[in-house]
Amino acid sequence: KKERFFSVMEAVSAELNRLFCQLFRGGEAELSLAEPGNIESGLLIRARPPAKETRLLDALSGGEKTLVAIAFVLSLAAGRPAPFYLLDEVDAALDQANSERLARLLKEFAKEAQVIVISHNEEVVRYADRVYGVTMRQGASQVVALELVGHE
């Protein structure tokens, strides 16, 4: 049990660092235990964007925090992959360049798992394999499959 926990933590931490570097184009991130060796202690996340100091997670910007959180959630697949991911407007705080980097990452990730996102962001929707549009008429929702034009 203890070995299993440490080997999963190692694997997730390495995957977190890989996804972080892809989203931030550099820098580093890792997981560690508040009390090293004690698997009952809290889990710490350290993240350092490129050309910046390592700071408290709290001191990161809104967009930076979003990217770290997404990298962490997706890195857990290195422990036990989930069959699908439902992501509801996770890109709300991102600027254009980061939205595009996130979309490319999700497209790659979607080769291994089913990824379903809700987004208002054209940058992200452009990378989807399939798009559904939701409308409302007299208080009732309707859903239609949309034709993909000019998609990545």
Binding site: L43, L44, F72, A82, F84, Y85, Q114, V134, V143
Partner: protein
């Protein structure tokens, strides 16, 4: 355990029966504010066992579709088909097969579950989903506005997420 189809009738903003076929890969859902996008995710997590409290409703009745200037419908049904190929479910499921059909119906003040068309207790649904690595409140489902929540939890609660996948 991927989602193959969702069918929703009378749940939240879905009045008439709506069927959404899902596929592998990367799917996007778009639409103006208030049209019912998050309600699709609510339907998916509802049938997997989420409680009404976590679906932006205080009581089960509030999940029943209430049209403008009209009476709420008397029942709602959400069904989902999951891919169950290559997953040994054994005695968890009445009939083995490549697909798993899960349903949850609201009528009166409560709800009932169905698995492969047969009524079953909530526990059976939990067991099957766990075997498919699906958790209705798991890390792989991120609600609107909650993406950084996983960073803001205490280190102890964060460690519990790692326990889930270890």
């Amino acid at each position: 355990g991927t989602i193959q189809r969702l069918t929703v009738t009378g749940f939240k903003s879905f009045r008439r029966r709506v069927v959404i076929p899902f596929h592998e890969g990367f799917t996007a859902i778009i639409g103006e504010n208030g049209t019912g996008k998050s309600n699709i995710f609510d339907a998916l997590t509802f049938v997997m066992g989420r409680r009404s409290r976590a679906l932006r409703a205080e009581r089960m009745e509030q999940l029943l579709h209430a049209p403008p200037n009209g009476e709420p419908v008397s029942e709602a049904l959400v069904e989902i088909t999951l891919d169950a190929r290559n997953v040994p479910l054994g005695e968890l499921v009445p009939e083995e097969g490549d697909e798993l059909l899960l349903g949850r119906r609201i009528s009166g003040g409560g709800s009932t579950y169905r698995l492969q068309g047969k009524t079953c207790p909530a526990r059976s649904v939990e067991g099957v989903l766990s075997a498919l690595s699906i958790e209705p409140d798991g890390h792989h489902i991120v609600e609107q506005g909650m993406v950084v929540d996983v960073l803001e939890r205490s280190p102890r609660r964060r460690r519990e997420i790692l326990d889930e996948v270890a």
